[in-house]
Every structure is written in C-alpha cells, then in structure tokens.
Symmetry: C2
C-alpha cells in the first residue's frame, strides 16, 4: 500500500507538502511542486489511509445508524431519508443491523463509539425491558459525554433528540375508521408485545374503539413475529378461534400482507367478508391485491429529519419532532357485512 511518504519521496518533497496539496489547500504550495505531487499520486495510485487521517485530525466524519434490518422496507425507507441528508452534508453513513437483538444493539453502540462517529441514530421500536434500557442509556450517556450526538427514531426511552411517528394517533385513525365502517368483530394481528411501537399503536386503537363503546378483549389480539409470516400465522389463529371476525387490523404492512395471503389461501373474500388494515404504508402496500388500506407514516421524512437533528450541533435542550400519521384508504377495506 502506497503511503504518503512514498508519494513525497517520489515527488522529491516532504510529507508535509504532499499532505498540503492532497488536502486540497489550506496552505499555499508552488505550482511546480503541486504538479509533481499530483503526478506521484496518480502514478502510485495513492489513496490516503482514512484511519490515519481520522486519527490525526480528530474530525469525526461518519455517522452511525442502528436499525433492525435494512432489508425490511420500513427501515429501507427510513435509511433512504437518512442517507439523503447525510451524503448531502458529505457524511459517510455506517449502517448496522441489530435484527432486534438487544445484545447486538449494545455491541453496535460500542462499535460505533469506537469508530468515532459524530452521531448515532437509533431507529426502530424500543423495548419494554427496564434492564436493557438502563444499560443502553448508560452507554449512550457515556457517548454523549464525550461530545457524541444521539438521535432516536420512535423510541421513548432516550431523553435526547428524537423524531417520533405518532403511533398512538395512527392507532386512533385505525380505530375510528373501523367504527366508521361499522366493524364490531375486530381481530388484531400484532407484533411482539415487548416493542413499544406495538403497545403505542394498540393503546391508540383501543382508545378510539372505546370512544364508540367498543372493547378490545385480549383474546382478539394475537402477538407474532413482526413480518409477513407472523401475520399469516396470527391471522390463522384468530380466524380459527373466532370465525365471525369482519376485520383484521395488522400492526404493520408486512403482517397485513401475510394476512391477505392467508385469506386468499382460505378463499375468504376481501373486503366483502373480511376487511384488512395495514400500518406504515410501505411502497408495496399499493401493489398487493386488493390494495392495502393502511396508516401512512412519513418514513423517508422521518429519516431525513432525524439526520438533520443529529448533524445540527445546536440546541442543548432535547428536541422532539412529532410526525403525524395519515389514513390511506384503498381496496382492502369496506363496510362490515351483516
């Protein structure tokens, strides 16, 4: 690997001047020497060692992001927003998949801290787990104490900058729409109950139903994996236990798509017999058949805002940006049959 000294030697200058011309500028260098250095760089195919650079000028450049899984469209979208403003500001983005493993999440915080990132963005739901939360907050506090910035997306447990999708409000939209359509026998296909996202959406939904005098008994809620197959599984269990359901409210679009697949397999007409609701409005939601009625969360926007917050050094006081949910009516829902 060619080093800066190699370049300097070949150009017949000192490493210092070589560094100067390669950095672009700052201090003046004669045109002739600049030429020679540039040529040496080209001949040796020299690329600066990023680690040495980072070490020398302690200029934290990169930004770390911890998400559940970039393959998951929910996080793909958020990541897109993060990427956009990060690269706009010339920052390198380090993406880490925690696969919702708290242990791994802690490890990644350490790793990113070791990488001297300028900021850490934690995206995705928090957990109902006091021990873990304390541990995580401890690590984050240590990071912040040394000048690092932390921004969370959709997690209550951290007390710093945050962008929060209105999960409760979204649950409310869902509940009111269910009532408007006259559904009374409603099954809920939910993700793992340790996720705060799930409980938030559920409480919003429950509150809205209560406004119309409807309860949401626990046996009408099935908790499963927060993905397509979990959705199919939970829907099957729900229908087996209670064949009279007229609506399935899935707490994310992946699960809703699993629900649709299962209903199609059982030849249950949607929405004539059973209506299906999703949550998130992933791009795929409009392409399934019937197109999915869902609660839209501005995912890309959430990512962009979070990165803007993370990169803006201002405001000692924690800033919380709340982003509203929006109901998107499509073809998978209709009035309750009677």
């Amino acid at each position: 690997m060619a080093t800066l000294s190699d370049v300097a030697r070949r150009a017949g200058v000192s490493p210092a001047t070589a560094s100067r011309v390669i950095n672009g500028s700052s201090k003046p260098v004669t045109e002739e020497l600049r030429e020679r250095v540039l040529q040496a760089v080209a001949e040796l195919q020299y690329v600066p060692n990023a680690h040495a650079q980072l070490l020398a000028r302690s200029h934290r450049g990169a930004v770390g992001v911890i998400v559940h899984d970039v393959s998951d469209p929910y996080f793909s979208e958020i990541t897109r927003g993060l990427q956009r403003v990060a690269t706009d500001q010339g920052r390198l983005l380090m993406i880490c998949n925690s696969y919702r493993d708290p242990e791994r999440e802690l490890e990644y915080v350490e790793l990113l801290r070791g990488q001297q990132v300028a900021a850490i963005v934690l995206a995705g739901s928090g957990y109902h787990d006091a021990d873990f939360t304390r541990l995580l907050n401890g690590k984050l506090a240590a990071y912040e104490a040394t000048g690092g910035r932390v921004t969370v997306i959709g997690r209550h447990e951290h007390s710093g900058d945050a962008v929060m999708p209105d999960n409760r409000g979204g649950g409310g939209l869902l509940g009111r729409e269910l009532c408007r359509l006259g559904h009374e026998h409603i099954g809920v296909v939910a993700g793992p109950r340790v996720l705060t996202t799930i409980t938030d959406r559920l409480t919003g939904l429950r509150a809205a139903l209560a406004e119309h005098g409807l309860g949401l008994p626990e046996h009408r809620i099935r908790y499963a994996d927060f993905d397509r197959d979990g959705g199919a599984e939970a829907t099957a269990a729900l229908l087996d236990a209670e064949p009279g359901l007229t609506a399935i409210a899935a707490l994310n679009d992946s699960m809703a798509i699993g629900a649709l697949a299962l209903l199609r397999a059982r030849a249950v007409p949607v929405p004539q017999q059973v209506s299906v609701f999703g949550f998130d409005d992933m791009p795929m939601a409009r392409d399934v058949t019937p197109a999915l009625t869902t609660v839209r969360l501005p995912l890309v926007e959430m990512g962009a805002r979070a990165m803007a917050l993370a990169l803006d050094p201002g405001a000692a006081s924690p800033r919380v940006e709340s982003l509203a949910a929006e109901l998107i009516r499509r073809d998978s829902t209709g009035p309750a049959p009677r």
Copy 2:
C-alpha cells in the same frame, strides 16, 4: 473521550499492560493488575479507538460492499447473504449505495480502499461503457496489488473471483415458457440497455424464441427505468403501439409489478388477455395478485457465496461460481388467448 493512557494511569499501570489485558490475551498479566485495569475500563466507560487500532496492527477487518441501492429488494436479498457470512466471520460490513452512478462507484472504491477494507464486493450489473470499465478495473487492480480482494456479483468486466447468476439461461427459461404457452405477440419491458444484465437476459430470451422460429423485433422492446414506474411506463408504451400483445416479459420483478399495476388500471385481465412474466423472484412476487410467474435467482445464496469467496484468501486463479436460474410458475401467466 477516555483513552488507553487514561485507563492505564487510573489503574496505575503502563499503557502496554492495559492494552494486553484489554486485547484479551497474548501475553500473561498478573491477576491483580488485570483486575485493576478492568475496573478502570468500566469506570471510564473506555472504548478503544478503532482507527488507532486499525492503524497500529494493520489488520484489515472490515469488508466493503457496493450495491445499487439497499432499498431495492434485489440488493436487500443479496446484502442479507453477504451480511450473514460476514458477521459469522466477525467482519464488519460497510454498505455503499452507488445508485447506479458510475462516478459514485469509482468514488466508493477509493473510499473503501482508504478504509483499508479486506475485500470489496461489487454487486449488480455492469455497464456497456468501455471507458468506465477501464477506469474501474484500474482502480480495482491497484487495490488488489496491495493485497485487497475483489469479488463481483453478476459483472463480466472484472477478471477476478465472481459469482454469476445465469442471466442468459434465465432468459432462455422465459423464452421457452412463452413458446410452451403459445405466445407469439410478446412485448419486452426492459431496463436501461447500458446494463449488461439486461442484454444478457435479452440474448437468452431471443435465442430461445429463435429456437421456436420466433423473432424479437426491436420495436417490441421498451427500455425504461429498472423499477416499478419504469415498468408501468414501458408497458403503456408497448400496449399503445401494439394492442394485440398477449404477453409482457418484464426483465425484473419490480418492472413486472409496474406492468401489473398498469394493466389493472386499464382493466386488462391477467392472465386471460395478457400474461405477465417477471425476473428475479423477489419476496414480493408471491404477494401481488395475480401472483407473479418469474425466473428465480438465488439472491441470498449469491451474496453468501460472494462473501465466502471474498474472505477466503486461497486460489490465485480466479474462481467463478455460476448459479442457475429457475422458472417459478404462478398465476400471472397462462396460455395465449386466440
């Protein structure tokens, strides 16, 4: 930021011993000192500076990946495979999105080289662009000359280790299935013609059709963006020009989904009047309606193999692993109407 010297000072030892106990092992250290160091680490919340470590022991740990866009399911799947074996081997994965911009691709090669990554994986189609190819190969060669490893996925232009999906063979499967179903008026919805993936799939398709005495005139091929909206656009153009088509062959699933959306919007029954074929078998393909007939590429497997190749230092001779395509029949295709 607490440094190793801080830890050493607080523990009353030299930085050398502190380093020894933190590294886990190598040289023996008395139990008592080890205790003291560990406690100092805990108290100071010390995390080693990764850049300094990388610099000191020039142990290249991370691996870089350049993909088009991780949000794109095609690359999400590949990335999943890459991730799996990378983390299995304790490697950190750096993911870079080129958004199919050759310029950015070159930049990322430099960046990854600067990061001293152990290997670079280039995923996605190559370009029909001799100048760019020469430039890229130059940069890659420089990287390999200094001990870096390069593995490509689905790109012909690099002469090292490679994992190649059988795009031509897949095109052939498509062509033979079209003939088997009796289609003669076939429109092709293609991505940008500069992508070698597109031309490979097209030549395979063309060859198979020719075997059955069918031609594929250029006006039956529409080139558009390699995504959903491009698929809808190309399908519209195709149908407007030639209403009598009985089959649409899209060269990836995203485009096929766009085609389905457009056909639904125009109330064209699929597959009764027009059959739709996809390519890649992304997870979403089975969830659209009608479920998409497509050519499956083992995407996760491709990623896993590529990473295995990249991390296995053996074999000076370039290894090329070819992975077969497979036809997946679903509901979006049927016999040609007459």
